[in-house]
Symmetry: C3
């Protein structure tokens, strides 16, 4: 009898826990928002993701970066799965999380890590197959880096020597030069983080860097459109005029 | 014996899991923050919610919008319950989530959906009773929409054709015209999202739209005061001077 | 048989639930991000936390404030533990949560409360040992407060009487004067919240307040460097030039 009572208590606990966990993990059934489900299907999946201005792989990179930067865990597992399906390599996802640890904060990377681990574990992607700290860095553009250091000194003066130091080492002398995520892709992740978090102050500089790294104007414009959906219309409308201004100045 | 051992393991697992889930779901007991509990009771509940400058129904709409926009799940279930008690209809809550999918990003809507679903399920509110995608749209102000399109073209130029397109269709030709959340309420949700996320760049425009849609100056000022508590003092103090400027210009 | 079947179901449920809960609680194993783990160890722990420009106690105060303000729960338990180990008193942590309820919004405080409760409960820190609402307030600088009220009136005009009222009472007449977190520490928490949430509009004013409250220029600069890691590079680079300008003007 005691066993049965204990069991029934546990069955109850488990039956409460199971859907709660599913919901914690973001498995919304759409029951409270039928219109949202319809717009997701018709507009987001049916139109946005099919536009050719930005490829599905890049959209996935932008999408997971926006979700991680904003701390939205609910659909992260599913979007990491989609990223892999769209050709983003496991090492690129791992590097994206590392890059965002710098551009959106350690907390956002730590919040995102379990979702990435769940997907990698389910697919048998082992830690050994992912890049560690020691890698063969890409070669640095020495002139560009000197200009960057000078610009930072102009911005900060002596106000934060620590920030200047860590920006040089490791951010620009290591992170940006790690080979498992191309500079173009790091630029996509960086501008996504800036737009998604509404940090437009440094957006012009990083949009120019992105264009120099091979992101086309049309792709940059579509990143803004994609982020209207994934980080909200206001973030896109804060970014759009900055992009326009950057593009105008480059063609003058 | 094996059964008993398995059971005791399970009892232990369940006893760990149960409080953890309660805490995940935000059931803080206030034990670590007795002063915060007291200020919640005395100032937030005892004063703020009772001020007549903004009705309880509107405060609920603003509160759940702020929590969803900022991704704060801990008290969302309780605030959705309160919103229903304060007269916000289930369809209006569902439309608020949809509206915020556009104004705060899909991730915020997806993060919020499970809480809304839990409350709706507990109250027997069925999906069938909620508006789907197909509704009889409100009629559009043709002149106003033409002015909006021109303003967007002026802001974006050719930088992001996708953003211009999706802003017209579906955002302004469908979402804003869906009948189950009045334009005035959509304006409350929109300015809440802008203020809560610190996106003040488009706030003046949307405050003007809100005032045109029937939000009074006193109500707008009290939304700012309400959000001081729900999205933080800095967000309110970024919004206050913008509101002042908007009101000054309308009375000139 | 039924018992065994029920048990095996429960064992399965528990074995699913346990790691999921561990992951919800942020116990990332670092398996998906070996490079991030290495940089955490080598740069964040090995370099940043050891820099003498800002003491470990202050770094802990800044770290938990940034995590709470941004809503990053994954490493909050561990950082609250570290804060206690670094000499932040339980009452100071409780007051930090209260202060952030005002500066980052009630939702951020409510989201953080369970983690603080878990750590306090595990250490036997009782509610009775923590400050309630009734305390002997520090004495107020009457001139400074009059200047603050006038500045707020200049900013807001009549746009939000509620915001002006609650800023005076309770924010500046009670919260800032509560004795269990020193004004200098409240300033550290406040500027952290402003920087972490990208709310630079009021940062200059609060940096001046922080310097008046005893934060040194070197400490302020290192808060910015610390937050580069904990709330992301863009937040630090938005704050750095503001700090520089504040310091330049004070030495003129």
């Amino acid at each position: 009898m005691m066993i049965m009572k204990a069991l029934s208590t546990l069955v109850l606990a488990a039956s409460i826990a199971a859907p709660a966990l599913a919901q914690e993990a973001g498995t919304s059934q759409g029951t409270a928002n039928p219109a949202l489900s319809a717009y997701m299907r018709d507009v987001v999946e049916g139109q946005l993701w099919k536009r050719t201005e930005l490829g599905p792989r890049d959209r996935s990179l932008v999408t997971i970066s926006a979700l991680i930067a904003r701390g939205y865990g609910a659909s992260l597992d599913a979007e990491v799965e989609r990223a892999l399906a769209n050709g983003v390599k496991p090492a690129e996802i791992s590097e994206t999380v590392l890059h965002l640890a710098f551009y959106a904060g350690l907390g956002s990377a730590n919040n995102a890590a379990p979702a990435v681990e769940r997907v990698f574990a389910a697919r048998g992607i082992s830690t050994d197959s992912l890049p560690g700290r020691d890698v063969d860095f890409l070669s640095q553009n020495v002139e560009g880096e000197a200009a960057r250091v000078a610009a930072v000194a102009g911005l900060l003066g002596d106000a934060s020597p620590g920030l200047a130091k860590f920006t040089t080492e490791p951010l620009f002398s290591e992170i940006w030069l790690r080979p498992d995520l191309a500079p173009r892709d790091r630029s996509l992740v960086t501008i996504t983080s800036l737009i998604a978090l509404g940090q437009t102050g440094q957006l012009a500089g990083h949009l120019n860097r992105a264009l120099n790294n091979g992101v086309t104007p049309a792709e940059a414009g579509e990143v803004v459109a994609h982020l209207a959906f994934y980080s909200g219309w206001p973030t896109a409308f804060s970014a759009g005029p900055v992009l326009r201004d950057v593009l105008d100045k480059r063609t003058e």
